[in-house]
């Protein structure tokens, strides 16, 4: 601050031309950062108001960029005028703090322990992740059989990133993700996976991991291990079903590579997108890894203690497949199903009278499994989604358990609802409830995911978890294979996206044909069935994006504009409540600083060159940056042909318009000043009385002194429309006050006609326009020039309002 002031005063006294040039340079920087700041505000508004999904790294980065640009604008404004606007920095600091408080995420914890045994010490979900912590609770608090094992903690993951300096690199990729661009998402995902895979596991973690793995293998004497992802927040508010990896049959020699592979899986496109969709940040979902001995199950599967696929009654559902359950999860295998009706949250009412004949479990095993399910439900205090397996001894082990998310209630159409639309297909199995309508898109290969159009009903061969990365574009899914026990069905239920599994539905239905999918009643109609869609609208939960919520808490500090009227007494730093207010305030004030660029005495124009033209105007030109074509710099005069400055050239075009006659004998200088100070002593073309222009390539600051009035035109006219503006002020005159007012009225009417906003107070007129295209600004400057030429001595000739109408018409036609 003092530095600015000292420099300012020094230049003002010793080198006024430099001051002017510095002021102009500072002004240009203000405009440049005004652009950046407004872009950032628009980006954030898009995310907030249009629900554009963005990683939190992007949101935090946009906020930081906005704050930095705003601070630079304030700095530059203070360079332009060091003594005004003193409080601005403080208000910036304050608003910046509120935004930081709302957008910063706590530093990740990377202190030990890095490994904990699967027991009481592993029950903290922030340390061991959702999957491992809930299994640890089962292991340490019940008699339910669980495989032994240990967990590489979330803190170990944080330490891995920290020791390899990955946080910043990942954030820089994360902030470039625009989830609507599937190809770009996949590319950035690959980049991030690569970063993780090539970084070494720190020794302190690697040594402990290898040692514990050896111990585990010896203790249970099995051939290999299974490593499972257990991210923090997984199975918490959202399930992350099927988004992260599990790797089977890992030998000790592959364990470090496999560990990293699971960490890298956090950055696979589908998992990334799923996380972003729910607005969880990367750093608050660190990846723990659960390590257990490999189980080769005879039978395995899923049990829902309250089956979300059955909505009209409470049912416990068991889905079983022979061997490993991979095929069940990725939607390719058809399981055998047992449904057990329940009377309430307590006991089941008994086994279904007609269990699946292919059922792979005997009666006793089914009873044991049901008993386990009820106990898990009791300790989890909610209906559970349980993964289980039967070992060679016939013992049932719990592999994973997580709460079942609330699913939208299906809407029962009123009984008398008559639907006349043609039914294209019926039957199959509902995997996720809901009704939706849209054009059909057929997906034949997972490589074509990027081409899935918006708002379609997707027809797929199987319910693969890959579908999660395009879920925002879908209205519904019809799959030829899969079941409601697949991961994607779980994702779809969370989102309220209807999914129907039907082996041969839609055979022969053409792509793009609009259909209505009613997953609840397993019906597909031709066309859009409005009656049905309207019924369902009320039950639709919609996607709940937490980053949008979070952003909402600081949005008023970012984009709400409260300073709208520069003429209001509240247009001051104290009233700035948001970054947008600060940006607006600084922009307005910097433009008005330029408007009063040169004092009335012409201070700062020492190096100016005198203009030689056919018009009888005495004018001096100061070129501060590329405003004149290169000519002999030592010349003391300059001609209009040398104008390179776009706004000056345009204005001169109008001013020298051939339809205006100039009296060559009457030199246009400041006659009032001439009368006051000279009484004939000064030469009439002295710089003190003359007009002047300060020019750069696309900037002009022009002070015109014609007779007894003066006008100032300050304009920016370049290819960036957002920066362009014309500010025009007109005051005074030699005629009677009424004559001057009539002239003001004439100017007002002409300028208003040409798109200027005009305000006038007595004989002072202000006109402005801004953010128009270069060509529009040029045209308006030419009009302004012609208007200035026409009105030179107009006030002397005006004595009635009637004259104005004719003059306005003449001018507009001319």
């Amino acid at each position: 601050m003092l530095k600015h002031l000292f420099r300012h005063l020094t230049y003002q006294v010793f080198s006024p031309g430099t001051l002017l040039r510095n002021k102009y340079n500072a002004f240009r920087e203000v405009l440049r950062h005004d652009n950046i700041a407004l872009e950032r505000i628009a980006d954030l508004e898009e995310i907030y108001y249009e629900d554009q999904y963005a990683d939190w790294a992007r949101i935090a980065w946009l906020c930081r960029e906005l704050s930095t640009s705003t601070r630079i604008m304030i700095d530059k404004l203070q360079e332009m005028s060091p003594t005004r606007y003193m409080g601005l920095q403080e208000y910036h600091k304050k608003i910046d703090f509120y935004i930081q408080l709302g957008t910063s995420v706590p530093e990740p914890d990377f202190s030990p322990p890095y490994l904990v045994p699967l027991g009481e010490h592993a029950t903290d979900p922030n340390l061991t992740g959702g999957k491992a912590s809930s299994l640890a609770r089962v292991a340490s608090r019940t008699d339910i059989p669980v495989l032994p094992g240990f967990v590489v903690t979330a803190n170990a993951f944080n330490y891995f990133l920290e020791s390899n300096g990955l946080r910043e690199r990942l954030d820089s990729a994360l902030r470039r993700i625009r989830p609507c661009k599937t190809n770009q998402l996949q590319e950035l995902a690959r980049e991030m996976e690569e970063e993780v895979l090539t970084a070494p596991v720190p020794n302190i973690i690697a040594d402990e991991l290898l040692e514990s793995a050896e111990h585990l293998l010896q203790a249970v004497s099995c051939s290999g291990l299974i490593l499972r992802s257990s991210a923090v927040a997984e199975d918490g508010v959202v399930s992350f079903a099927g988004q992260y990896d599990s790797v089977l049959n890992v030998g000790p020699e592959n364990i470090l590579e496999t560990y990293k592979r699971i960490l890298a899986g956090k950055y696979r496109a589908k998992a990334l997108f799923y996380r972003i969709l729910y607005g969880l940040t990367d750093s608050e979902t660190p990846m723990a890894v659960l390590v257990q001995p490999m189980l080769d199950p005879l039978v395995s599967g899923v049990m829902y203690t309250k089956d979300p696929g059955v909505q009209d009654r409470d049912v416990l559902g068991i889905y079983a497949v022979p061997g490993h359950s991979d095929g069940l999860m990725d939607g390719t295998a058809a399981p055998c199903t047992t449904l057990v009706p329940r009377t309430g949250p307590g006991e089941p009412a008994g086994e279904d009278s007609d269990p699946d004949t292919r059922c792979l479990l005997d009666h006793a095993q089914r009873q044991t499994l049901i008993g386990l399910g009820l106990e898990l439900e009791r300790i989890g205090q909610a209906p559970q989604d349980v993964e289980w397996g039967v070992d060679v001894n016939g013992r049932i082990l719990v592999l994973q358990t997580r709460p079942i998310r609330n699913t939208p209630k299906s809407v029962e159409p009123a009984r008398d609802l008559q639907i006349s639309a043609e039914i294209l297909a019926s039957g199959g199995q509902r995997a996720a409830s809901g009704v939706a309508s849209g054009p059909v898109h057929m997906l034949n290969s997972w490589n074509e995911l990027a081409d899935v159009p918006d708002q379609c009903i997707l027809l797929v061969p199987a319910l693969s978890p890959e579908l999660a990365q395009v879920v925002h574009r879908l209205r519904g899914v019809v799959a030829r294979s899969g079941s409601r026990a697949s991961h994607f069905a779980s994702v779809a239920r969370e989102l309220g996206l209807p999914v129907l599994v039907h082996p041969d539905s839609l055979n022969g239905v053409l792509s793009n044909r609009t259909i209505t999918l009613d997953a609840d009643r397993t019906l597909i109609y031709d066309g859009e069935v409005r009656e049905l869609l309207q019924l369902f609208e009320r039950g639709q939960p919609g996607m709940d994006n937490r980053s949008v919520h979070r952003l909402g808490r600081v949005m008023e500090r970012i984009s709400r504009l409260t300073l709208t009227d520069p003429a209001s007494p509240r247009f001051n730093p104290e009233s700035c409540r948001s970054m947008h207010d600060l940006v607006r305030f600084v922009h307005e004030k910097s433009v008005s600083e330029m408007f009063s660029l040169v004092g009335k005495g012409g201070r700062g124009l020492r190096r100016a060159r005198q203009l030689k033209s056919d018009l009888p105007i005495s004018m001096y030109i100061l070129d501060i940056d590329d405003g004149l074509f290169e000519t002999d710099r030592d010349q003391v005069t300059v001609t209009p042909e040398e104008f390179k400055s776009v706004p000056m050239w345009a204005l001169w075009w109008g001013l020298s318009s051939p339809d205006v006659a100039w009296d060559k004998k009457l030199l246009h200088v400041d006659w009032e000043e001439f009368d006051r100070i000279s009484a004939g002593i000064f030469k009439a073309d002295s710089a003190l009385l003359s007009s002047y222009a300060v020019l750069s390539a696309n900037y002009m600051h022009l002070m015109l002194r014609f007779g007894y009035h003066f006008s100032v035109v300050d304009a920016l006219c370049g290819s960036e429309s957002k920066n362009n503006y014309i500010n025009f002020r007109f005051k005074g005159g030699g005629a009677s006050f009424d004559g001057r007012l009539l002239r003001i009225e004439f100017i007002t009417r002409v300028l208003t006609h040409h798109g200027f906003t005009v305000t006038s107070k007595a004989d002072l007129l202000d006109a402005r326009c801004s953010r128009d295209e270069e060509k529009v600004i040029q045209k308006r400057l030419a009009i302004l020039g012609r208007l200035l030429a026409k009105t030179r001595l107009l006030d002397m000739r005006l004595d009635s309002t009637d004259q104005i109408d004719d003059l306005v018409n003449d001018f507009l036609e001319g």
Partner: protein
Amino acid sequence: MATILVVDDILDAGVLIKRILSRKGHTVHPFTEEEDALSFARKNQVDLAILDMKLKKMSGVEVLEELKKISPDIRVMMLTGYPTLETARESLKLGADEYCVKPIDKGELEGKVAEILRK
């Protein structure tokens, strides 16, 4: 109308807040010594405390913690010219209703106080 306690090591700051909020009909007691403020809170029913962060012996966060022990329902507004993310998170965790940053003008102060008392 509410009984409001203000703790700021600079008396003028407290008096200024008193002047603004008294006009809204509140009863305002400014203190520069944190101990005096705490013993006032022990003996009287206080609806809202406005605490500066830099005090003479204790920090604003410590006073907040003490006040919440005396009266768990008391509403608290932290008001500081030296904000940090740590003290802000800590204050909100300890039950502060707002963490406000100086400079604060009359309108903003009145608005925030009304908002907290409405909760």
